[in-house]
Symmetry: D2
């Protein structure tokens, strides 16, 4: 029977030598920042200076967002059940899904799909916004449950302008924001997911890798929360007892000869 | 009923403002490297320059080690089953356990527990090695399945010397290596887990956070492998069909009236 | 701020009393088979006799399928990394995805969506098959990578006929099989996922619960494999070393002033 | 390089034939209850009648315990983040840890280790209780956060008596309960974890499989909760916003030249 081998183009590990995308890990340890090593591992090439700066800013922006996101609740519940650091962090990563961090992936896909059209970004944005409004769909990466103007987004775009990094996808994202305000009569700003999506698209990353950037950054906060739960709280604490309600069927009995 | 609140000292997220350990995320985005932000999120304070450099080198050293570690196999199997990036990376993180990355935690615990003794490190190392040999236990963080002299370890210690960073735990680790060679008559070198354990102990991190550093770095490789599997391989590929063997009971039948 | 409570209609647990869907757990322990308790927990009502028998047969059919499915490989890798039973089984459950067990969900959805049409099943089957062929899509639940005629499927349909259980969705599934043979000129039989999808649809379960039945059954095999790995194999065993290939970039160096 | 094969004694899957522990899956589908199939898959042999009844009662006893256990909170958080059934159930299984379900494993270990002694159970119980009290350790499987007398435990022991199933481990568990009451002057009853631990020990299961029985049963409730969250709640709902508190450092700035 023919069999599929494990093949990889990422890293070659031999006795006494580890090469990531061709570069010796020892040389990398001497010369690369962590975000540069991340760029190299994911993309296969070293970043240019502006790419290096942008990725650094993205990764710094998302390490933690307090105790309320579902991923943190899962991580702390897993610790509370009596589990190890890796299990707790895994549960947090698992919770990062289509509506929690997932907008990066979907927004990047939208920007990349529409960005391929041969038109001006302002024209594409008009078409895109009217199609989404017509189909009554939300454009992923715009609006936020908490922040009206997300300070992280503002900063990301400012850094991009300073570095002269604004590419087609970032411009398209900005054009969509303008167009949304015109169409809806109120501001529905790019959120941090949308900004990250635009930046990684301008770096040439496939949208399929979108959640990856958020995971790599947020895993830091998950480690911190797992540790905080381990050292500050008792196991199996009463997390769910306050505010719950059973609203199912009342007391009943299994009838004789029920089957 | 009294109830345990969610409490956290890591991040405060309010409308339009996010502060990690007291620092504004926007200021952090402008001024910190990703490894500095990691140090701050985990430790609660900004790193000193040598700490910053050491943590950077640690994180760069472990992003990937090729396709063979169990964590990568799990990640790629989860993709192969038809799952998303977050699920795949979560399975990889989950696989990082007591014998895969876990030596960091156990070695840091050993170094921190023994390092508290008021004696010289060379004396402590003698006691420690003879106790472990007497109890026929392996000292976590020494020896490697593949690399005789792990190039990453050599580099980490070299950077530490250049930065004048060698603290008590790194010295203890080196003394243990010397002592092991003397006692066993062959080299059982510090591996990368042991080196990381010594460095983070010298930074004042609790051993309970040990696996966290490995996870934060290796999650990068897991994202790369998940993406590679998604884009280079067919779903549900034949990964296990080559080399397996059933050695259980032969064909038999459920006897009449068996129960 | 208004807040979403935890609400549930499944189980009420009070001091000294646990009621599942209204029934006392103690009474259930005396009178229900495990598959009846499963039906009750998932559906909210006790099964009829034929439903009880069908669900029992489904659950027995899928406990294990040997060492090759990706879910088993993940479970055993997690044990091999040095983790606990719950972590290992969790990784296996996680691996059950859109292409591994997931066909139950997608097939149930197809049967439920098309089954709502007011026509005869043979007519619906014709329309459905020609639409899928036209769109060059595979119909989920038909064909198998290993078994030409899946013995589990044959048995499930036979039990259904004996119990006079064949409802609209099972009939539709059979009509699709006939229609596929006519259209393709070769047999593309209902597989076990398709058969389970048809049966649970006839029981009135929502397709969204599809993967759940497979998970409930297969978790048994995952426990058995985790235990077998724990007791028969060494930790961190060489699972991936045989048959792998690095095909990325060759040896290169970081250029001076690269950034 | 020599390589470790995948070996298994659980199931042989060949074209058109699946045999679990030697028995044809088709024959099993016709003749076994689900709990009998579980016994066979885990133990390698068919259960005796009393074993079959006891395992059935155990599995029925633990399918769900309402919305408050950490495993359920994790499952619902993962759904809330926008993930699939398998990811949600995996997170729940992952949360079942040393202090949530894990008492089965630890209690079974205690009963099996101490039960090997050649003495009368009442004598062993005395020794065991005084050792645990002396070491100020809790005996796993005794006491419950909610139920003073766990109705599931009472029922399990009653069924065991009716079936004449009480073996050495169940007797030891009961003797420990008596001894605890004598020593502490208040009742610290066997809980459901302890009862299950005693029963599976009398069936000859290794304590390492302890959590497995709880997982196999509770996974049913996790599927039900995942489905309930999917169909009754909005994604990314406000689960953590009510009752949380930031108590970390106040507002501060990154000092100039901090590094």
């Amino acid at each position: 029977m023919s069999v599929d081998k494990w093949k990889t183009a990422i890293t070659e590990a031999k006795k006494g030598e580890i090469r990531v995308r061709g570069y010796d890990i020892v040389e990398m340890m001497g010369k690369l920042s962590f975000s540069d090593a991340i760029f190299l591992t994911l993309k296969g090439e070293l970043p240019k200076r502006a790419e290096s700066e942008m990725l650094r800013a993205i990764l710094v922006s998302s390490t933690d967002h307090g105790v309320t996101p579902p991923s943190v609740l899962s991580t702390r519940n897993v610790v509370s059940g009596g589990n190890s650091m890796n299990a707790a962090v895994a549960a947090g990563v698992l919770t990062i899904g289509d509506v929690h961090g997932g907008a990066i992936e979907r927004c990047a896909r939208t920007l990349q799909d529409w960005g391929k059209r041969p038109d001006e970004v302002s024209f594409i944005a008009k078409e895109l916004v009217s199609e989404f409004i017509y189909k009554r769909r939300r454009i992923p990466g715009f609006g936020h449950r908490l922040h009206e103007t997300d300070p992280r987004t503002v900063k990301l775009f400012q850094i991009a302008r300073d570095l002269n990094f604004l590419g087609r996808h970032m411009e398209l994202a900005q054009a969509i924001e303008v167009e949304l305000t015109n169409s809806l009569g109120r501001k529905l700003p790019i959120n941090v997911d949308g900004a990250i999506a635009a930046v990684i698209s301008d770096m040439g990353f496939d949208w399929r890798m979108g959640k990856g950037f958020f995971i790599i950054s947020r895993v830091v906060g998950l480690v911190a929360h797992a540790y905080e739960e381990m050292t500050r709280e008792k196991p199996m604490r009463k997390l769910g007892d306050w505010n719950f309600e059973y609203d199912g069927p009342g007391r009943r009995e299994i009838p004789a000869g029920w089957k």
